[in-house]
């Protein structure tokens, strides 16, 4: 039995022993199960352009939140104005990194004075912190405007999709009309009127701190920009409702609540998030456009658009004051657009096929 005949029909008993752990690990290739979200994140991480844009956005956002807290100057602080003293004109219109004569005297005396990175403006305010604060305002307006659009669009879109019939028809006709209105002209018109009408009614409330112009901007977004979101969500619901897996779930006895939570929402959430992300740069765009026309944030609060608009007056001597907010706006809008595109490529399952 020692020399085995290759033609022997005898089976080797060892072949029938239970497999060892190593053999099992070798035979069964278990991949970690991946969720849709993790899969999308992996694709997003692989997309270098989108990933870098995301880092840029995070860096700008964090800087705009943290820097005003630690910076020695405030955005509305007129450095030359001290209570009980005449206005110190040497603080006005400083060039970047320049010190006023008062500050120079303190430096000579051995004190340390924080530099004005971008100089000061015509009212003697530190320009760097104004740009940082303006970035914060612009980002916040863009973000909240998109959330408002999302909420209004989602509500009306899902009502139209679920109810169908006459309700659907009325909502969609309204959408058609608003869609064909020239949006920018309507925005300007409403912004011009709204700041007159709601300014007085806001006084004394919490909202007064935000300012009538920003509130009216939000109202305008809620009125005009919900259409494409509503259309999108209605379309999603109409097509998802007819899918086989919904029928299968119904056949196995699932309730409406279960179907909505487990099937409909997860399937349209990515599309909704992507279009919300792409709404943010367009909201920032609109805000800066209105601020540039003088219909944006209330002074002395800066936004990137109003900073650029103010800088237009002294453009010949202080052109850097326009270039700086211009670069920041373009950088924000560009990276948000690229990030939104990357998000769409990573999370829209229909594009992956």
């Amino acid at each position: 039995m020692d020399i085995k005949n290759p033609l022997s029909m005898h089976v080797n008993a060892e072949d029938f022993l239970p497999a060892s752990e190593e053999e099992k690990a070798y035979m069964v290739q278990m991949r970690p199960s991946t969720t849709f979200f993790r899969d999308g994140c992996r694709r997003l991480y692989k997309n270098k352009v989108a990933f870098v844009s995301m880092l840029v956005i995070i860096a700008i956002t964090v800087a705009s939140i943290v820097l005003p807290m630690v910076w020695p100057y405030r955005y509305e602080q007129q450095l030359g104005v001290q209570p009980g003293k005449p206005v110190d004109a040497s603080f006005l219109n400083l060039a970047p990194m320049e010190y006023s004569s008062t500050e120079q005297a303190r430096i000579d005396a051995g004190e340390s004075v924080f530099p004005h990175l971008f100089g000061t403006d015509a009212a003697g305010r530190d320009y760097f912190i104004r740009v940082v604060y303006g970035t914060r305002i612009s980002l916040a307006v863009g973000f909240f405007a998109s959330i408002i659009v999302l909420v209004v669009g989602m509500t009306l879109g899902s009502i139209a999709g679920f109810m169908g019939g006459r309700v659907d028809m009325v909502i969609m006709r309204i959408v058609d009309i608003i869609y064909s209105l020239p949006d920018m002209l309507m925005v300007i018109l409403l912004a011009a009127v709204m700041r007159e009408t709601i300014g007085t009614s806001l006084e004394g409330t919490v909202l007064a701190n935000i300012g009538a112009n920003i509130i009216s901007l939000f109202i305008i977004f809620a009125l005009l920009y919900w259409c494409s979101m509503a259309r999108l969500i209605r379309g999603q619901i109409l097509s998802l409702r007819e899918q086989e897996y919904v029928l299968a779930a119904q056949a196995t006895g699932a309730g409406a609540r279960w179907i909505i939570v487990k099937h409909l929402i997860p399937n349209c959430i990515s599309v909704v998030i992507i279009s919300t992300a792409l709404q943010i740069p367009s909201a920032i765009f609109t805000e800066s456009f209105l601020s540039f026309l003088g219909l944006g944030v209330n002074a002395p609060m800066p936004s990137l658009g109003s900073l650029a608009s103010d800088a237009l007056n002294g453009i010949t001597s202080y052109s850097y004051r326009l270039v700086i907010p211009a670069i920041v706006i373009s950088l924000i809008v560009l990276s948000l657009n690229l990030f939104g595109d990357g998000l769409r490529d990573a999370f829209d399952p229909k594009l992956n096929q």
Partner: protein
């Protein structure tokens, strides 16, 4: 044209009319909602003088009658007198501003469309070369730049630092910078649109068939590829005009061009309500009509498209 296309066109025209009516109605009632009245700025108006003024402008009538009168007036292109520019009709001011603005807008529109199509086709034909990548990077940057930023930067560079071109739009050669500012964004958009649709068309079977038949490269591109890839560009004409109209509002402000956009902006800051309404309605009609024309053209050029 089959009856289906005609029905689509009819439906689209009705929709455009409804939109125009909505624009007029919204502007009218929004303006009426403004607190205070247009004569509040005039100091110490006696009640008698105020009543006379209101009667002159028809403001003493009930709201619905004012609305009806305004609607009829707007149909006749009559928007009443301006409140701030003494003794001038809104219509005359608009026509005056339109002359400069139309010149600016049409030149920008032509430049943007032609360069966009040319650059886009070259980028598609030379796909993945340095030229293509360069074009894509540049156009991505331009699409992310608001027009007022673009205008201000061009003003700083060419008018203030280099002093090559005048900063004031009313001077000779002064329209060059505003035209460039206005055309860069639509040009970039059309470039990207043409490139992607050209790439799509180049992969079609009929292109391969044409090449296999021995049609020259030149004819394949000009007769088959280019013509078909321009169809999506047609749909962009409406939004393109809308962009140029709104863009000219700030561009005319930056370069001090005496056009309709400047009147619009100054009427907002000066609260000249009839002028705001008039300019809004005129500009909105332009955009709505252009959207209508480009939609109908789209349908007529390519009957396969089902727009329902």
């Amino acid at each position: 044209m089959d009856s289906k296309t005609l029905r689509y066109i009819a439906k689209r025209i009705v929709m455009a009319i409804v939109t125009l009516w909505a624009v007029i109605t919204v502007t009218f009632f929004v303006m009426k909602a403004v607190p205070g009245d247009p004569f509040a700025s005039e100091k110490a108006v006696t009640p008698a003088a105020r009543a006379a003024l209101e009667a002159k402008y028809g403001l003493d009538k009930p709201l619905m009658e004012q609305y009806k009168n305004y609607l009829v007036g707007a149909l006749h292109f009559d928007f009443g007198p301006s409140l701030k520019v003494r003794g001038r009709e809104v219509t005359a001011i608009i026509l005056d501003g339109m002359r400069t603005s139309a010149k600016l807008g049409i030149i920008a529109l032509l430049i943007a469309t032609v360069t966009g199509i040319v650059l886009g086709s070259i980028a598609a034909l030379r796909r993945n070369t340095i030229f293509d990548k360069f074009i894509m990077v540049i156009t991505t940057a331009f699409v992310s730049m608001p027009s007022f930023i673009m205008g201000s930067l061009l003003l700083i560079l060419f008018a203030i630092k280099l002093k090559w071109l005048p900063a004031n739009g009313a001077q000779p050669g002064g329209l060059i910078l505003p035209v460039i500012t206005l055309s860069l964004y639509p040009m970039s958009y059309i470039t990207r649109l043409t490139r992607s649709s050209m790439l799509d068309v180049l992969g079609q079977d009929y292109i391969r068939t044409a090449k296999a038949k021995g049609v020259s490269e030149r004819n394949v591109i000009m007769k088959h590829a280019l013509k078909n890839s321009l169809i999506p560009v047609i749909t962009y004409f409406g939004p393109e005009l809308a962009y140029i109209v709104t863009g000219s509002l700030v561009v005319e402000q930056i370069f001090a061009v005496p056009g309709i956009g400047r009147y619009f902006v100054s009427s907002i800051t000066g609260r000249d309500y009839p002028l705001i309404m008039g300019t809004t309605i005129v500009l909105a009609s332009l955009i709505v009509i252009m959207n209508l024309v480009s939609d109908i053209m789209y349908k007529v050029v390519d009957p396969r498209i089902n727009l329902e």
